[in-house]
């Protein structure tokens, strides 16, 4: 990690973040969260800030394929890891099957929780392509939807799970 002084007593560091299969060089302070950097410096605004204290899941991103909270992850600690944001699920604007399922099942109301919901579900499906309804609900326990549209969200995820073939 290269250290780079910039005027005030706050140290700034030039780090490389590997986001959605691309490398981004970005200058950060010690206290910057991954969410601060994604939204304010890289303008990847899919991850949202709502509670800021780890309760709502609106800032969920994937780090090495695991769902984590960007609001409680220091940007410095994310260096060297593979970060996936909602923007990374639709390269060239082609939606992932899960994103498409959210649209088809009406699983989006105001849309504020949707990126977090989809990323939590993406992590689940990568680890377990055929989850039960209970496992889906457990995986989404950290994502709040204030529109309360949970049933349609779970149905959308169920529609893309791997079904047993007879």
């Amino acid at each position: 990690m290269k250290k780079k002084r910039q005027g005030s007593r706050m140290k700034k560091y030039l780090i490389t973040l590997h986001i959605n299969n691309e490398d981004y060089e970005v200058t950060v302070e010690d206290r910057d969260t991954l969410l601060d950097v994604l939204r304010e410096k890289l303008h990847l605004t899919g991850a949202k800030e709502a509670c800021g204290t780890g309760e709502c899941g609106a800032c969920t991103v994937l780090v090495d394929d695991r769902a984590v909270l960007a609001c409680l992850t220091l940007a410095i600690e994310a260096e060297g890891k593979a970060i996936t944001t909602i923007e990374g699920l639709a390269p060239q604007g082609i939606l992932s099957p899960l994103q498409q399922a959210f649209i088809e099942h009406g699983a989006i109301q105001c849309g504020f929780c949707t990126p977090g919901m989809i990323l939590s579900a993406t992590a689940l499906l990568k680890a377990n392509p055929a989850p039960s309804r209970q496992e889906i609900q457990k995986a989404l326990e950290g994502n709040l939807c204030r529109c309360t549209g949970y049933n349609k969200i779970v149905e959308a995820i169920e529609s893309v799970t791997v079904k047993d073939t007879p």
Binding site: R31, G54, L69, K138
Partner: protein, 340 residues
């Protein structure tokens, strides 16, 4: 909500950690998963000038199991790993289960075993925003001289709400602590002071580096129950862990630990309750549940009503001990006849 200004360090060895600590003194905090510490920093409840991350220490995310020595969980092991690790699942299912009940999927992917044990005590008059804190008089936990939860109290009633510590305590877990001069092992329950404002005996420069649990013994029944308002996410408003060794229907060893009802986990040993060498029967189970009820003294400083939380302790102990009765498993509350 921004994290206040601080300097981040990621040393690669214990030696470097302690030399950094020597330079920074009490202005430094250890950073593991950050899910407790960074929230408290954002709320301006603590303002460390330096964060010393432990993630760079070699082996800090290791789990080791040996049939004769038992399980060693390094402090930096993620809770999600405790949930899914096959060795933990097979030999210490209660630990894996308790870890699965902590917070949410995202938090379990970030938070660590050591951090969970050393999570700070909580109170609805303390874990509030900076603005809220400015609007009311400072309580003991905010370095003031009063308690908002218990009027005229001379002490802080903030609650310890960890899920792992009670389980580790009944399993006979010990933690490894390192300081610049020495290392030592202490029982999990010895980590706590019982004071809500200053809940831990071993603060900086002591660093919790790992947890050791003895090998699982035969005929050991262990269980954990957690009462909360929402099944996902919430801290325990009351929780109980039990470990019980039976010889047929005779109780040979019994440990029970309560969480969410005091400023530290409350360990109740079988030898203190006079139930060793007795047959496990429904009247005895009720007696034990009453003992737990009498030991729990929650106050109205969390979301749940204190009397309800206390009652839940009794019900949860009773439910778990019923499950321990040989031949009883799978039957619901009240289905077994009184004549066992």
């Amino acid at each position: 909500m921004h994290i206040p200004q601080c300097t981040y360090h990621a040393p690669k060895s214990l030696k470097t950690i302690f030399s950094l600590l020597k330079s920074f003194g009490t202005g430094a905090s250890f950073l593991a998963g950050g899910t407790d510490l960074l929230v408290r920093m954002k709320q301006r409840l603590i303002l460390p000038e330096h964060l010393i991350a432990i993630r760079g220490i070699k082996g800090i995310e290791n789990i080791r199991y040996d049939r004769s020595k038992g399980l060693y969980v390094a402090a930096g092991v993620k809770l999600a790993t405790l949930v899914t690790d096959p060795v933990v699942q097979e030999n210490y299912p209660v630990l894996s289960y308790a870890a699965s009940l902590v917070a949410t999927t995202q938090i379990r992917n970030m938070a660590t075993a050591g951090g969970n044990i050393l999570q700070n005590t909580r109170c609805m008059y303390y874990n509030r925003s900076y603005q809220w804190g400015k609007a009311v008089s400072a309580c003991f936990k905010r370095n003031g001289h009063l308690c908002h939860a218990v009027e005229k109290s001379r002490k802080c009633f903030a609650v310890y709400q960890g899920d792992l510590a009670p389980v580790l305590s009944v399993l006979g877990g010990v933690v490894t602590l390192a300081s610049p001069e020495t290392t030592k092992e202490v029982n999990v329950e010895e980590l706590f002071t019982g004071d809500g404002a200053m809940p831990f005996q071993y603060t900086t420069p002591w660093l919790l580096t790992g947890i050791r649990i003895p090998p699982p013994s035969k005929n050991l029944f262990s269980a954990y129950k957690k009462y909360r308002l929402r099944n996902g996410m919430d801290f325990p408003l009351a929780g109980v862990a039990i470990a019980l060794k039976l010889d047929g229907e005779i109780i040979k060893n019994f440990r029970m630990c309560l969480t969410g009802v005091a400023s530290s986990p409350l360990l109740i040993q079988g030898s203190d309750t006079g139930i060793h060498d007795k047959n496990i029967t429904l009247p005895l189970i009720r007696e034990v549940a009453d003992i737990a009820y009498r030991q729990a003294h929650p106050v109205n400083n969390l979301e749940g009503d204190a009397s309800r939380r206390r009652t839940m302790i009794r019900l949860m102990v009773e439910d778990m001990l019923r499950e321990a009765i040989p031949g009883y498993r799978g039957q619901g509350r009240g289905e077994r006849k009184e004549t066992i």
